[in-house]
């Protein structure tokens, strides 16, 4: 799902003012568009598939400075840039790219951080190809966009490597206490924004490491934990306090926190409830939800067992059910943990797969098998209750359903059996029900999501806002960040109003 919010007048003016600056004019003149179009898109250097599919080191190596500057030159610096409208947090993309071309990397980082406090993460996990890069004018003209995501990653890595992280100006203390519930992408973003505005921000997180899905879900080979840690340290430098192992609703309710002086709340508890297919054999040993499988491996570091205490079943024949990014992360993890056969089982065809193209490509290179138009109908266990086989059914595509994708329908009599000793069910997550159960006044939609006013992210209960997957179901990191940012602005307004 792509959201393209209309560019506001205010943003348009801001972009224009930057565009009109003398150095930008000069830079545009320095290289004619014709020359710029001759430069090929710079390839992201990657580790070799046969090397990387055995460890958890990062796959993409990142552009070097020379390649980044070259890539930045491909950008036309359009008077009416499409890219900004494709970005859920409205990064001034032309400015940060042109600052790279100019060689002022420090200024480029600051430009991104005006609107995005977690660029090293977005540069890695955002689906740029369906957002900013999809509406890039160069793409419209030639079919190949500027590599905006790779540049974002480059510039944030540059900042981290040079060791001096820029701390923006923090407004004088307002004395207002704000509670952020959940340290995922939405909560981390909201916390950073509110801290900059001078509020006293505390993040309450149920797990023992901050990051939410970024730490328990996304594997090390796609988002190294050290990067996340640097981003969280940055929030601490902004004055944000983190309370780990604190389950709001259980350890304390929102009412308890109000009594402790918290005036406003942002709920960003994510889509932490794993969905199952409700077919026979799903509780056999060796059948995991993707959440559990990835949490064991990523958060608990089961890939380093027995140096770390948490085990995970290392299957020789692994089947991952689903076609999204979580499925790709799971299947590539299974491969890295020694699976001889690691396969995606997806009920539609390749075309309908929601996973990012880059993840699919990486998976294919690493030797992952893809079985399209196939769905499991039951799992069979051995005498110890461990999964040993699964029965599948072939599908064909019928009429389009409500999502616009052609609906898969079973082919009668097409059942077949295949041996597996590890199954990961990655067919999506639902919003975590804990907050709604323990804060009954919250309005809950039919998918278990919290209902909010989309203009303000307000829940309807004074002072309580929500965003990210707890309101959207399973969406993206960047949309969660966009929600966190919007909610932070609204919380700031709310606090100012309530203090007269």
């Amino acid at each position: 799902m792509t959201e393209k919010p209309e560019i506001s007048v205010e943003l348009k003016e801001r972009l224009r003012a930057e565009y009109e600056k003398d150095w930008r004019k000069e830079l545009r003149k320095s290289l004619p568009i014709k020359e710029r179009m001759k430069i090929p898109r710079q390839k992201m250097p990657e580790r070799e598939p046969e090397e990387r599919n055995r460890d958890f080191g990062e796959v993409n190596k990142g552009l070097d400075t020379e390649a980044a500057v070259q890539e930045a030159r491909r950008c036309w610096d359009c008077a009416n840039p499409g890219c900004v409208s494709g970005c859920p947090v409205s990064i001034d993309i032309p400015s940060f790219i042109k600052l790279i071309e100019k060689g002022d990397l420090v200024a480029s980082v600051r430009k991104i951080k005006e609107t995005n406090s977690l660029p090293a993460i977005c540069g890695r996990v955002c689906p740029q190809e369906t957002q900013c890069e999809m509406v890039c004018n160069l793409k419209k003209a030639t079919g190949v966009s500027v590599a905006i995501g790779n540049l974002e990653r480059f510039i944030s890595d540059f900042e981290r490597h040079q060791g001096q992280v820029f701390i923006p100006e923090i407004a004088p203390s307002t004395g207002s206490k704000v509670a952020i519930i959940g340290a995922g992408p939405a909560g981390l973003t909201a916390a950073g924004e509110l801290a900059k505005k001078g509020h006293r921000v505390t993040i309450f997180e149920a797990l023992h490491i901050a990051g939410g899905v970024l730490v328990y879900g996304i594997p090390e080979f796609r988002l190294p934990k050290a990067i996340l840690k640097a981003e969280v340290d940055y929030l601490r430098k902004l004055g944000v306090e983190l309370r780990m192992s604190f389950v709001v609703g259980k350890t304390a309710t929102i009412d308890d926190l109000r009594k402790d002086g918290y005036e406003a709340f942002f709920i960003g508890t994510g889509a932490g409830l794993p969905n199952f297919m409700r077919i026979p054999g799903e509780t056999l040993v060796g059948v995991y939800s993707a959440n559990e499988y990835l949490t064991r491996v990523n958060l608990m570091r089961a890939y380093e067992f027995p140096a770390y205490d948490t085990p995970v079943i290392r299957g020789k024949r692994a089947a991952v059910i689903g076609g999204g990014n979580v499925a790709m992360d799971s299947v590539r993890t299974a491969k890295r943990l020694g699976a001889e056969m690691a396969a995606i089982i997806y009920r539609r065809s390749r075309q309908e797969m929601p996973a990012r193209e880059e993840e699919v490509k990486h998976a294919e290179e690493e030797g992952i098998e893809f079985h399209f138009l196939t769905t499991p109908i039951r799992y069979l266990g051995d005498e110890n209750g461990r999964v040993r086989a699964m029965e599948c059914l072939r599908m064909e595509l019928g009429e389009p359903d409500s999502s616009g994708r052609r609906k898969p329908v079973p082919v009668p009599g097409s059942e077949f059996m295949t041996e597996v000793d590890l199954v990961v069910v990655a067919i999506g997550q639902s919003p975590n029900p804990l907050m709604a159960q323990t804060t009954p006044e919250l309005r809950v939609g039919k998918w278990g999501n919290l209902e909010v006013d989309w203009k303000t992210m307000a829940t309807g209960i004074p002072g309580i806002f929500a965003g990210g997957d707890i309101v959207r179901g399973g969406a993206t990191v960047i949309l969660a960040m966009g929600d966190g940012r919007l909610a932070a602005a609204e919380i700031d307004k709310y606090l100012k109003k309530s203090h007269g």
């Binding site: 780990m244 192992s245 067992f305």
Partner: protein, 277 residues
């Protein structure tokens, strides 16, 4: 980080752990649990809350030595810090005035049944406590249990106490003898809870069991702890841990609890070699 206040060997294979956790102590109710991680490389494991002191800000659990995680916990000293101590998790036990309630406990469940029996007593029930131990020296908390029980009956295979028989048999005869048992609560190893549930099934006495499947996050996020109750998949961490024992798919629970048997042995061997040479 949570500070260890006390760690004590109650009987040879069972330890007590008291931790400074004022928020948990303020909120917790009988039947809830905490998730604990013994050190930075540890596993997240659930421990049932066996007692708490809101004034002192402390929470107590009783645990059986099984694998690496509980070995690590058993070596903690006062002043040590636990990287994870989160709770109170799960739904509290259903406490009402039922009439006559039998509380059956064994192993770590002797500690875990205590706050439930106490709450049931405070709610006005006649509380009969049945304790099962393999040998009489494995019985602990006798004084605490005696204080809150109208009757305390202890069964040990070496017969120093009231009987030698496995406690589910006693449960069966007690239901006959008492005429009116309104509810049974059983906590301990899975087998004990299973046998208690089977013992009360013919008479149809509602029997609540506190299930102990493997967990990871403890907040409903991963689904590791899924159990089948009444044919439906439930998450023990958020839907439980208490369930009606007559609805549980016990063979499934037994096999799921053994998911990592080989890994657990391997991990323990590595730990013992590193720790004790």
């Amino acid at each position: 980080m949570a500070k260890v206040l006390r760690r004590e060997r109650l009987v040879p294979n069972i330890h007590l752990l008291e931790v400074h956790a004022p928020e948990v102590a303020r909120k917790c109710r009988a039947g809830q649990f905490v998730i604990v991680m013994a050190d930075e490389r540890g596993e997240r494991i659930p421990l049932t809350i066996a007692d708490w002191d809101a004034k002192r800000g402390s929470v107590t659990s009783v645990f059986l030595l099984v694998g690496t995680s509980t070995q690590k916990l058993s070596l903690l000293q006062p002043g040590d810090e636990l990287p994870v101590y989160v709770g109170p998790l799960g739904r509290p036990s259903d406490i009402q005035n039922f009439g006559t309630v039998v509380c059956a406990g064994g192993c770590f469940g002797i500690g875990a049944i205590y706050p439930i029996a106490r709450a049931l007593k405070q709610a006005g029930n006649r509380v009969i406590t049945l304790i099962d131990v393999k040998a009489s020296y494995l019985f602990y908390w006798e004084d605490k249990l005696r204080k809150i029980s109208d009757r305390l009956f202890v069964s040990a295979r070496d017969s120093r106490y009231d009987s030698k028989d496995y406690i589910p048999f006693k449960l069966e005869s007690l239901i006959q003898e008492e005429k009116k048992v309104d509810r049974v609560v059983a906590i301990g190893c899975t087998y004990l809870m299973y046998r208690c549930a089977e013992a009360t099934r013919p008479a149809g006495v509602k029997t609540m069991v506190s299930l102990n499947p493997i967990m990871v996050d403890g907040t409903g996020m991963c689904g590791a702890c899924r159990v089948t109750a009444d044919g439906k998949t439930k998450f023990a961490c958020v839907d439980g841990p208490d369930f009606d024992g007559h609805t549980i798919d016990w063979p499934e629970l037994f096999s799921r609890r053994k998911s990592y048997f080989d890994d657990e042995v391997k991990s323990l061997c590595v730990f013992e070699r590193e720790r004790f040479g």
